[in-house]
């Protein structure tokens, strides 16, 4: 029985719906490239630059155990890119303008997804690509930026594989609060997306079960939005106290 635990590739296959969506997106990307529209994000060829490939090869050979990964990170000279920078470059090579530049702050390096319809395919790429293997979605939090934008922040991690960390932000507007769901890429996203919907009213398209999770189903409004006004009565009970 214990042999089945050896492989780390999730058994859960992509549902036909998501696969079709990804296929459609790829076609869309190719179509854009052919027509050469400047305003839309373009996909760049996924070939690696020789320098990056060399760095990756070096990283693979010295792939340390989990215990030593943090020490080696600190000892590396400042010029060498950190693991999350290498990971970011790979994603940038693949998706080009669909993602923003890396915000390389010391606490939580992240990049933003400019074109939210690409988010599931970016997520799927990040999980499955052998150089990235972001197999663990630590946390998915909703956030209200109070300037008409809502967003989610995903903290990703590659456990038992590469040990690098990276965060991704996806934004949407309050009027069109829709973000494609990644619940089929990471099961963790299932309940966390429901929570973000519950608290911020972000609707995750093609989520398998888009219901409120913590508040009652008939609760009005989204409590963690900055402009939230609590309802006066709930089933005849006065709410504000």
């Amino acid at each position: 029985m214990s042999e089945e635990n050896q492989s780390n590739e999730p058994k859960k296959k992509l549902s036909p719906a998501l696969a079709a969506r990804l296929e459609a997106m790829k076609k869309k990307k190719e179509g854009e490239e052919a027509s050469g529209e400047a305003s839309e994000p373009k996909a760049k060829p996924s070939k690696l630059s020789p320098a990056l490939a060399a760095r990756l090869a070096a990283k693979k050979t010295q792939k340390p155990g989990q215990e030593t990964s943090s020490e080696t990170k600190a000892e590396e000279p400042a010029k060498d890119p950190e693991p999350h920078e290498i990971a970011y470059n790979i994603i940038k090579e693949e998706f080009g303008d669909a993602i923003s530049d890396l915000d390389n702050n010391p606490h939580m390096p992240f990049f933003e997804v400019n074109e939210k319809s690409f988010w599931p395919s970016i997520a799927y790429f990040m999980r499955t690509d052998s150089r990235l293997k972001f197999n663990f979605l630590s946390c998915l939090s909703g956030i209200d930026y109070d300037d008409g934008r809502l967003g989610i922040v995903c903290n990703l991690d590659s456990i038992d594989e590469h040990g690098h960390k990276l965060s991704v932000k996806v934004n949407c507007t309050k009027e069109d609060a829709h973000i494609p769901s990644v619940a089929e890429v990471w099961l963790t996203a299932d309940w966390h997306e429901r929570e973000a919907y519950d608290m911020y009213g972000i609707v995750f398209d093609e989520h398998p079960d888009m219901r409120r999770i913590l508040c009652p189903d008939d609760w009005e409004g989204y409590p963690l939005r900055k402009d939230y006004q609590v309802q006066e009565y709930y089933h005849g009970i006065r709410v504000p106290y």
Partner: protein, 399 residues
Amino acid sequence: MSDDLHIEPTVRLTSVDENTTILEKDLDTEHMLVQMGPQHPSTHGVLRVELLTDGEVIVKATPHLGYLHRCFEKHAENIDYPGIIPYADRMDYLASMNNDLGFAVTMEKLMGIEIPERIDYMRIIVSELNRIASHLVAVGTYAIDLGAFTPFLFCFRDREHILNLLEWLCGARMLYNYIWIGGVSHDFPPKFKERVLEFVRYFKPKAREIYRLLTENEIFVQRTRNIGLLPADVAINAGASGPMLRGSGVKWDLRRNDPYSLYHELEFDIAVPDGKASVIGDCLSRHLVRAIEIEESLKIIEQCIDKMPDDPNFDPHATVPKRVKPKAGEIYGRTEAPRGELGFYVVSDGKGTKPYRCKARSSCFVNLSLLGEMAKGQYLADVVAIIGSIDIVLGEVDR
């Protein structure tokens, strides 16, 4: 004669002999909806599980949460940073020290506060004591779920010693507010270290006893072995952490893999089942991880007491900032709580003393989302064993 009969797949052949062939239409079993909870002793709080059953077998299990939702995140946006700690206490009320530690470590990283070594060791001692207390409740109540009353009494007898120690330390038995941002609320009282060491010496054989009491108990093993299997790949993909993830054979412990505080200086083993007594990924494995971790925590406490520097003029408030006002920025800090990865995503706008956003990533919340996955195809009675093995605290699930 029966050879030339064409039998529909829905029709069952019940008896055949030379002269008669009895055909019976397949019995159509109806699905039945069973509500388990919200008031049910084995759900460890107020959790409702909607079970769709086919006879005795679970077809689908859907947990419904929110009965204990106390709006931690909304509260956190309206109080200043040090005031959040008592609220964090009340999330996982069985391991308050670990929650405090998680929030304090996150905030210190965001603000760049350096704290003295002695405080780090003090924090590790109290949070490991709390981890033992929490695992004792987990093991004890798990035994009671499965019908064994004695281990529960053994566990609570020893947990009482820990609670007395912590009460002596900060005046509260469960909700401590002891670990502050940048320090702790009180120094160790005189002779506290000796008493902790005394407890460790007393508890070492007892921990072994508790381990053997259940893992060598035939009835307990029958109820938990090969039940609620969770393969490692699903566990990682679904974000399981803590004993859930280690029970599936993944050697992942944030104290070792993403060290915080001074855990990188301490020696301990990551508890992973070896697959001899249990099937890797089943309920028994998860129980074993907790039972082993109790002993590992004792090791950590001993080392901390050895290494902790003594200082007669020690001021536990020396590095506590007068006003917690971090610069604009954001951080996701995570620590290993007894139930798994406890993360805090804190956003500061740099303008005030209140967080712009404070999200708590609760380990139980994520672990509980796997219930449906594990309960599918199991017997109704085993759902109790599976819920118990996840070791949920509803205060943390709902926050």
